[in-house]
Each structure stands twice: as C-alpha cells, then as structure tokens.
C-alpha cells in the first residue's frame, strides 16, 4: 500500500480549473520531484496534500487514512505531513529553537524539556546548532530555510512537502538547503518537492512528475525523463529551463 495515494483529484479556483484529475501514488521513502511551468498546478497539488487547499473532487489517502477536510484534524494531519514553504514563514517573534519547539509543545503536548531535546537534534541535523537562540531576522535566507525544515521535522512527519524551497534564496545559498534535503532523502525520508532545480530533481529524485495544464503529463525515473522526453511539451519545458 502506497504511503500517499491520490485518485482523480480535482480543484478549481472559481471558474479556473487548476487540477483536472490527478492520479499519483507515492511509496514510503520515495523522493518525488514535481516540475512544470508556473500555473500548471504543481503547488496546488502539493497544498492539497496537507489540505491548505481543500480539493473539490477525488480522494487523497495518506498512511491509510482519507483526507477529506473533516476526516483528519489539523493536529493529526501535521503529524503525518510536514511542509516547507518558498518564503520560509518562520515566526519572527520566536527564536530558532522556539520556532522548532512550538508545534510539538502546543499541538502534541510534548513536555518542554523533551521538545527542546527534539528541537536540538533536528537543528543539529540541518546544521543550525550554533544559532538556536537567534531570531529569524538575524539569519540568512538559507539558514532560515534550514530552520524551517527542522521545524517541520520536529513533528516527525511521514512525508515532507517542499514548495519551491530554494526559489527565494540567493544563488550562493541554494546549495546548503539542497544538501539538507539530500541528507534527508538518503536517510529514507519521503519527500515530495515542487522544484525548479532541475539538476537536483535529476540527481536526487527517484521519480520526476511533469505537470502540464492541471494534469500529470509525463512521469518516470529522472534519467529517462530528462534524456528521452516522450511528449513535445516536456521537451520544450526541458529546453527552456536547462
């Protein structure tokens, strides 16, 4: 049984149909990159997976539980799915370690000292142990994004969703964030990434999904997909980004 199973997923914003029937199965430990032009629905798909957007039709099954708005509470959902955003979205009034501790303490009711230990260990994993007491405003973009990854990991999710996590970074800071994701991938974390980093998608993913006009247009293992695209849309896309 797949960890994430999406069937016939539809989502519209008003008149505009953004997702026109998505079927996708993702196994535990798999790293899946979703690529495509802006407006192709990749971020919306990702946001449906943790219900930041409610889908209109279709089913999402996550770890044997259906996500249908009411079936899983936000608290439960957050134990299964973590999310990292393009714009980091750290809480500015909390220090690095407080950012990471917040959800375990408030949502999971983890005792503070235990939450602190968890926070320190995930911060060590992303290489941010030196900055536990800094405020987000005192960090570089790359550091903020690594803290955001640690914050998501502190809930011990089964899947980590990454929505263009390097797009807001200065080019020289992209590497440090991708390295953290690579480490997570090699540890067996299930990652679903919407990304414009084609090299990363090719080198680290187990599978690449190309979205076009609200549908999965082509998908497969990265080597084949990038070297032998089957559809003209994908070849055009690859030509335009490489």
């Amino acid at each position: 049984m797949a960890l994430v199973s999406v069937k016939d997923l539809h989502k519209s914003f008003g008149e505009l149909e953004v997702l026109k029937g998505i079927d996708l199965e993702i196994e535990a430990g798999e790293v899946v990159s979703i690529i495509g032009r802006s407006g192709s629905g990749k971020s919306t798909l990702l946001r449906c997976l943790n219900q930041l957007e409610r889908h209109d039709w279709g089913t999402i099954v996550l770890a044997d539980q259906r996500l249908d708005g009411t079936a899983m509470s936000p608290g439960e959902l957050s134990r299964n799915v973590g999310m990292v955003f393009q714009s980091f979205n750290l809480f500015p009034h909390k220090t690095v370690v407080e950012n990471v501790m917040l959800a375990p303490v408030v949502v999971k009711q983890t005792p503070r000292d235990e939450a602190r230990r968890i926070a320190e260990s995930v911060l060590a994993k992303v290489g941010m142990s030196e900055k536990v007491d800094a405020y987000p405003a005192q960090l570089s973009g790359g550091q903020q994004q690594r803290v955001a990854i640690a914050r998501a990991l502190a809930m011990n999710p089964k899947v980590l969703l990454c929505d263009e996590v390097t797009s807001a970074l200065d080019p020289e800071l992209v590497g440090e964030v991708l390295r953290v994701l690579e480490d997570l991938a090699s540890e067996g974390m299930t990652l679903i990434l919407v990304t414009h980093e084609m090299k990363f998608a090719r080198d680290v993913s187990d599978r690449v999904v190309f979205m076009h006009q609200g549908r999965i247009h082509e998908s497969g293992d990265p080597q084949t997909l990038f070297s032998q695209p089957r559809t003209p849309e994908l070849s055009q896309f690859i030509a335009s980004v490489l």
């Binding site: 943790n50 930041l52 509470s73 936000p74 608290g75 439960e76 959902l77 957050s78 134990r79 799915v81 973590g82 999310m83 955003f85 714009s87 980091f88 979205n89 750290l90 809480f91 500015p92 009034h93 909390k94 220090t95 917040l102 959800a103 408030v106 949502v107 900055k131 007491d133 800094a134 405020y135 987000p136 405003a137 005192q138 960090l139 955001a148 914050r151 998501a152 809930m155």
Partner: protein
Amino acid sequence: MTLDFSTLLPYTDQILHGLMTTLWLTAVTTMAGIALAIVVAYLRDGASKGRPTLVSRLLGGYVEVIRNTPFIVQLFFLFFGLPALGIPISATVAALLAMILNLGAYTAEILRAGIDSTQRGQHEAARALGLSRLQSFRHVVLVPAFSRVYPSLISQCIIVMLGSAVVSQISVFDLTYAANFIQSRNFRGFEVYLVVTLIYLLLAVGLRLAFEFVGRRLFAFRQGGSA
C-alpha cells in the same frame, strides 16, 4: 498677579490622593482594556473570514458605539443609567468600567489593523504545523500584530489616562477632582492647575517611557543585528 505656591502646601494630601487614584485607574484600565481588546479582536477576526456571526455583530456594534460617542456621555450613561435600570453602581466602578470599555474598543480596532497585516504565510505555516485557530492566534499572530501597532497603542493608553480627568465629573477623587476641590477652598486656581497640568504632563511622558521600555524587551526580535 503674584504666584504663591505655598497656598497649596496644606493640600498635599489631596493632590497625592488624586494622583494615586489617577494612577491606579490608568494601570487597571490599561491591563483590562488591552485584555478586552484581544478578546474582541479575536472574536471579530474569526468572523471576518466567514459570514458575520451574532457575536461579531454585537462586538462590532460595541466598538462603533464607543468610538462614535463622547466619553463623558458613556460615563454618565453607566453612572446614572445603570442605577435607573436597577443596577447599583459606585462612582469608582462606573469610572473604571467606562474607561475599560473605552480603551477596549479603540484598542480592539488598533489591534485589528495589526492582525489584518499578518502575512498569509504565517497562517499557512501555523496550519501546516497543526495549530488550531486559537493556538495560531495566541502563539503566532498576536505578538507580531502588537509589535506593528505598538506606537498607536501607547498613544491610545495616554489618551485614556488624560481622559480619565473626566471621571471627576462623577466625583471620583482623581487628580482633576483634587484640583477642583483645592481651588474651591483656596481660590488659587492658577497655581493649582499649573501644578496639576505639570503632573499630567509628567505622567504622560512617564507612561510613554514605561511603555517604550516594555516594548523594547517584548519586541526585541524586531531589532535584528547579529546573534
């Protein structure tokens, strides 16, 4: 005319008494008014995302009534109106209640501006981490919202402190009441009001400095710099 401040000396106790009353009225009002404003802002904020509920309409009505009527009328309404409805109320309680309701309404509106300017990503990050709406409001939204509107909040609290002079009209023994009392005995209006004016000025400046001191600690995260 000659100024003779020694005529005030026999009334030092009254001035101190009035000053203490003004101080504690302001202190209690500031704390209770801000607490009230947080509750009102939260309940109204929830409604703004869906259709307005009865609670949010009532709170909206409360905020509008307070902001569009004179404070002295609000005070008289409580002090003379409630007993007429069979609810006995002392002058001090009426004064305190009027001040809290007044500050609560203005601050709720100030705070709402701060809450509305919260970036969408903050709400989304909180939701993705599994925080409920109340948890998100309390742990994520509230402090940055306060920090953005803090200067307006300081001014509003000072306005209420100065506005508390009005409670002398229902014979609450505040600083203004003390002044009226003294000048009706010694007929040295100029000296009395000069002194009382200076005291109010010092109170206002002191209150602002105290608020700024607290703000620097509370909102240290805004100062940035290296860790």
